[in-house]
């Protein structure tokens, strides 16, 4: 039997170039009993992935969760005073819903932030990823250096400000503590 196709798929799998269907083909292939020796070593990964899908919760889970969800919510009819407050509660609930809707909306949009940049104009300067890597890390380091430099300055400033404040508050502070 010719395993060229599987070998090719495997190679592309490691490069993350396979589609979901192709990945399933690999998993199915490795389920078979007879695997040629040179491919055998990868068998366990795919078999593992297949079996890991079988992990399940215990049977009592449904009952537990439904009990928690479907339990009675309010028991407040003994307190007549609350009846007076009901409109207030309603208003508060509306506000709460609006607020949480707002944050939920924010959060759900947050999940797919699209950068709208037009990358078509980018002409890659480098063809070798290693060289590009060097350039990017150098740039990152420069940014890092600036952040650190700034933080250092800022820390010094706030120490100076703090020192100046103590000077204000305590009469015995010597003149020498001054903002530089």
């Amino acid at each position: 039997m010719d395993y060229k196709y599987i070998e090719q798929l495997l190679e592309r799998f490691w490069q993350c170039e396979t589609s979901l269907e192709e990945e399933q083909i690999l998993r199915t292939f490795f389920q078979q009993k007879e695997i040629p020796a040179h491919l055998l070593s990868y068998k366990h990964l795919f078999v593992y992935e297949q079996t890991a899908k079988e992990v399940k919760l215990g049977n009592d889970f449904d009952a537990k969760i439904l009990a928690r969800i479907e339990k009675p919510v309010v028991t407040a009819h003994h307190v007549p005073f609350s009846r007076h407050l009901r409109p207030l509660f309603k208003a508060a609930a509306v506000v709460a819903i609006i607020l949480s809707l707002g944050t939920a909306a924010q959060r759900s949009f947050h999940r797919d932030i699209e950068t709208d940049y037009n990358y078509d104009t980018y002409k890659d300067t480098y063809t070798d990823p290693q060289v590009a890597y060097g350039e990017i890390s150098e740039a990152l380091m420069s940014v890092s250096e600036s952040i650190n430099k700034y933080q250092e300055q800022y820390a010094n400033d706030s120490v100076a400000v703090a020192a100046a404040n103590t000077e204000d508050n305590s009469q015995v502070a010597p003149d020498s503590i001054k903002k530089e």
């Binding site: 490691w14 366990h44 078999v47 899908k53 889970f61 969760i65 969800i69 939920a104 950068t115």
Partner: protein, 169 residues
């Protein structure tokens, strides 16, 4: 618009959520708690279900965040484990089942030693069969980032596995 119900639409996600939580916490009792908390949290937000683009993605996001919060609470131990597996010699057993069992354990360990992001991405892609887009939505990443993380995860498993296998045999 279709009516969403807890029993029909959310409860069936339990195993998927459990597997993700388990992958992150590596503790099944804890993972079960997390699935419960996830579902309660999602239930509390039932007013918003209709607005969600994908209820499943939303549940998985909530679940992952809860799992990460929990593991961060008891953190630390996991980080240092990397060396250990490499030392464990793989005594090759004459019995195929045993070898098989051992190898499966090994893959399991390698898998679980990946950094959380890579681990979750590999879980969602290779075990749950999710597309890059879906994973990106769940983890709040770009598709490129998902791909790159997955690439690193697969490479790492491949390297470690071959390394150990070569020593063992």
């Amino acid at each position: 618009m279709q009516e969403i119900s807890f029993r029909n639409d959310i409860l069936p996600l339990k195993d998927k959520l459990f597997r993700l939580a388990l992958r992150i916490t590596q503790n099944s009792a804890e993972a079960e708690d997390i699935v419960q908390d996830t579902m309660i949290k999602v239930w509390d937000k039932r007013n918003e279900w209709q607005q969600l683009e994908s209820l499943e993605a939303y549940c998985l996001t909530v679940c992952r965040n809860l799992a990460i919060d929990r593991s961060q609470l008891k953190a630390t131990q996991n980080e240092e484990l990397t060396e250990e597996t490499q030392e464990k010699p793989d005594a090759s057993s004459p019995y195929e089942d045993l070898v098989h069992e051992e190898r499966m354990q090994l893959v399991h360990r390698l898998f679980n030693q990946l950094p959380e992001k890579q681990r979750s991405i590999m879980q969602l892609r290779d075990i749950e069969g999710k597309s890059y887009k879906e994973i990106a939505d769940i983890l709040n990443l770009t598709e490129e980032q998902v791909k790159v993380n997955l690439f690193r995860a697969r490479q790492r498993i491949k390297q470690q596995y071959t390394k150990i296998e070569n020593y063992g045999l």
